[in-house]
């Protein structure tokens, strides 16, 4: 069974204080690992797809990396508008389904 564990559950940072969110996964044959951002009352917003170990993707203050067992979402010099819940999901190569973690609730304090 595919599993995704995200840590920490919640993280509070001062504006400008860089940190990383972790996503550990087990999947039989990884097709892709996905990162999403979710604001309160809204649907998840797609950020990145990573397909193989060693791959990195960047978008503004966010950088996602992937190993064979985990992915990190690095946030550099965050701003209050980065406050959101960040979700990680994996897709096995055998099907079209995503398995989601329960997310990291990130709060950036001005």
């Amino acid at each position: 069974e595919d599993q995704v564990t995200q840590s920490p559950e919640a993280l509070r940072l001062q504006e400008g204080e860089s940190s990383s969110l972790n996503c550990s996964y087990t999947v039989s044959g990884l097709r892709g690992l996905f990162w999403y951002r979710q604001d309160p009352g809204k649907g998840p917003e797609f950020l990145f797809t990573l397909y193989s170990a060693g791959e990195e993707k960047e978008k503004e203050r966010l950088k996602a990396t992937l190993t064979k067992k985990e992915s990190f979402l690095h946030i550099t010099a965050p701003k209050p508008e980065d406050t959101a819940t960040y979700l990680c999901a994996v897709q096995a190569s055998r099907n079209e389904k995503l398995t989601f973690g329960t997310g990291t609730r990130l709060t950036i304090i001005p």
Partner: protein, 113 residues
């Protein structure tokens, strides 16, 4: 933003009544999905569709049925709503051809009293 709308956005209903939620897309994507999101459980797949009239079950399909008669519409029906089905429901779409990311709609908050 991906062209996905969900209706209604909010609904309160009584236990035992039937409820249908609608997802509409303008992207002509092949795959459509229904998820529910509950505190502590994250997003869980209810049903998905890989084409018109082609559907399959997800991990939490009991008590739910789906239909897809047109590419753009995917309906989720609760035949007899229960309080355990109080949740936020999200529809998602995916092209399924080379790019596997899913794009989500705005959600429907359903309360069963």
């Amino acid at each position: 933003d991906a062209g996905i709308t969900q209706s209604p956005r909010h609904k309160v209903t009584e236990t035992g009544t039937p409820v249908t939620l609608r997802c509409h897309q303008t992207e002509n994507h092949r795959y459509m999905y229904w998820y529910r999101q509950d505190p502590g459980h994250g997003l869980r797949l209810i049903h998905y569709s890989y084409g018109v009239k082609d559907t399959d079950k997800g991990e939490v399909s009991d008590g739910y049925s789906v239909s897809r008669s047109k590419t753009e519409d995917f309906l989720l029906t609760l035949e007899s709503a229960t309080s355990s089905q109080t949740s936020v429901y999200f529809c998602a779409i995916s092209s399924g051809t080379g790019y596997y990311e899913q794009y989500f709609g705005p959600g429907t908050r359903l309360t069963v009293t």
